[in-house]
Symmetry: C2
DNA sequence: CTGAAAGCGCTTACAG
DNA sequence: CTGAAAGCGCTTACAG
């Protein structure tokens, strides 16, 4: 008898754990019940809840509805709403490693802030680059009728577009299709970033500035080099290929590049990324050189935990992850104009710290 | 006439951007259409799709249904499914900064892997500690009828439970309620971690081991100290309060603690976290001391970008973010038993690198 | 082995 | 100013 009681009258809530401490795990209150309690039709309740402009509901009626909602603790069922409208208030975010990468979580942050601003929530899936998971994730998003999908990568790179993705309205974030015009995309402006990084050094009075580029091919490798050249040219300094080194883009790479760098007889160096700069710091120190007096250093990425806390703190250029996420959402929702065939480029702002002093030109 | 055409026949897809390159942005194919194409009832299609055991469908019929699904490119509408079942296949994850914090994104990763394993997707909201956003996020999750909510913090701490959260089945992740038994929770085992960290040093032959604790109060502060004491006691070394220093838990704190540390005449030091150890590296170097020969160092957190790339690489103890997320999901789904009144504790495994050598006892 | 029908919780014309 | 009714796309007993 007792167990009969427990199972009757409540169709929903499968498998709710007994250990749960929540209050109202029973069948949720529906709009119909609110209507009955308020003595009106369900249409009226719906109108009141959604504050429809041209529906004129009497103040007294409106009040009764609100009271009923409060008393019953009514929560709208978003699934039912979506069923009617055809599209959910979700924006999907497929990430190949954003959640597990130190700083790119800001893509999530920026996308979410912008999405919420327009009444959307994020449906995030971290795929770790697994193609099967990726496909399942996109399928899931499609089945939940997302408004659109942001397809993002943890580092800036070309990508091909999964077939399933094409079934949705989508935008590439931090990546782009090799085929121009194949998809809307938003990426960091590597060349401008490289130029800004170099300019920090130039402003410090340096004329012989080395660049330690990455060994591995990437849009960043080309763009950051281009920016370096642009800055030199604008300053009337002729480009010397001999001042461009290459190293693996991490601490060990930077450390090992020290020796080569010191042969170049430069007073300043721009590193492909902050990690490289961190390794270089160690190398310079071992050679008895001090930063910035003996060598000015700038990095790239503004990887907070490193750049802000080296000694001296590292001047660098910020990768605009937050803005990438936000711009992706705006592009998706059609709030920003998509430029012709090429990706939207987001600026990489310079962040100046103490690793570049004022150099008196010899 | 033409614009008439464009607006008719397709009830759904409001506001789909013209710039979108997708293929099938039209009204989606429904189950009913599949049924018609296959010449069966919707019930049969539903049965086939969901592979119901006791529904016996003829092989030939089943095949017709599958063909129709493929030809029409049918995608189930998850919203309609959820409407019927009452609960969605979502697990909510409320995070106060996980997405914007370097390493805690692993909570997302672990939660997602475990959730997918059981057919659930994650609905993530990053609240940055904003109480209003937090409430809105939980409300949204409730309206989407999530199976339950994981409430997580980016560092281990006590938290109070928002009222709205109680309306859901929930689990605290990386945080806990000050009231014992108020909620299921999963946290890192700080004491075990502190003990493991200290033991790395002890195994290296060190007897005088300093501990630089944090200045700011936190479960980690108490737990990591307790672990240090436990390890010493187990090794038969009496605890000397004079060997416990305190510093702000970042690079600057570690750097500034160097002087005090060197007065203690120890051969090894366990730092509250990796960032502190990074600063200490600089301090020791400036004093002409080498690691590990003059001073063995261990950290805590295993913050990859630091610990794995200092020179020498730092021995440390790993904060089990991935496991916290995964265990949170298991607890929520009732797959793991919730222990009586206290949080589930997840081990912090030691990660040994080169910052601890073998010390010959004097 | 398969179909007709009711219903999940909403919103939206349509009447009045 | 408000209500009755149809319908969004599914699933689930219930018949047969």
């Amino acid at each position: 008898m007792i167990s009969q009681e427990k199972n009757s009258g409540s169709a929903a809530t499968p498998g709710a754990s007994d250990a749960s401490a929540g209050s109202s795990r029973a069948r949720p209150v529906t709009l119909r019940e609110v209507a009955e309690a308020a003595g009106v039709s369900t249409a009226t309740v719906s109108l009141v809840i959604n504050k429809k402009k041209n529906a004129r509901i009497g103040d007294e009626t409106r009040q009764r509805v609100h009271d009923a909602i409060r008393q019953l603790g009514y929560r709208p069922n978003a699934m039912a709403k979506t069923l009617v409208s055809g599209t959910s208030r979700f924006i999907g975010l497929v990430a190949d490693g954003v959640a597990t990468t130190p700083f790119a979580g800001q893509i999530i942050h920026g996308a979410q802030d912008e999405a919420w601003k327009h009444g959307y929530a994020l449906l995030i899936t971290n795929t770790e680059g697994n193609r099967d998971l990726e496909k399942d994730a996109i399928t899931m998003m499609l089945e939940y009728k997302v408004r659109g999908i942001l397809y993002s990568t943890w580092f800036h790179r070309p990508t091909d577009i999964p077939d399933t993705l094409r079934e949705a309205d989508f935008v590439l974030v931090n990546c782009f299709s090799p085929k121009p015009g194949a998809a809307r995309a938003v990426v960091p402006d590597e060349a401008q970033g490289g130029r800004s990084a170099t300019e920090i050094l130039l402003r410090g009075g340096h004329r012989r500035v080395a660049f330690i580029n990455a060994t591995i091919p990437a849009p960043a490798k080309d763009g950051r080099l281009q920016g370096y050249k642009d800055a030199l040219e604008a300053a009337g300094i002729s480009f010397d290929p001999g001042l461009v080194l290459e190293a693996y883009p991490d601490q060990e790479g930077g450390y090992r590049a020290t020796e080569e760098l010191l042969k170049r007889n430069v007073t300043a160096v721009y590193c492909y990324n902050d990690r490289m700069a961190m390794g270089l710091y160690d190398g310079l120190r071992e050679n008895g050189l001090s930063i910035p007096d003996d060598m000015a250093v700038v990095g790239f990425d503004n990887q907070e935990v490193i750049a802000a806390h080296l000694r001296p703190p590292l001047s660098t250029v910020s990768l605009p992850h937050y803005e990438l996420g936000a711009a992706g959402v705006r592009l998706l929702l059609g709030l920003d104009e998509a430029p012709g065939d090429s990706p939207v480029k987001i600026a990489c702002p310079a962040v100046e710290r103490a690793s570049v002093g004022v150099h008196s030109t010899a």
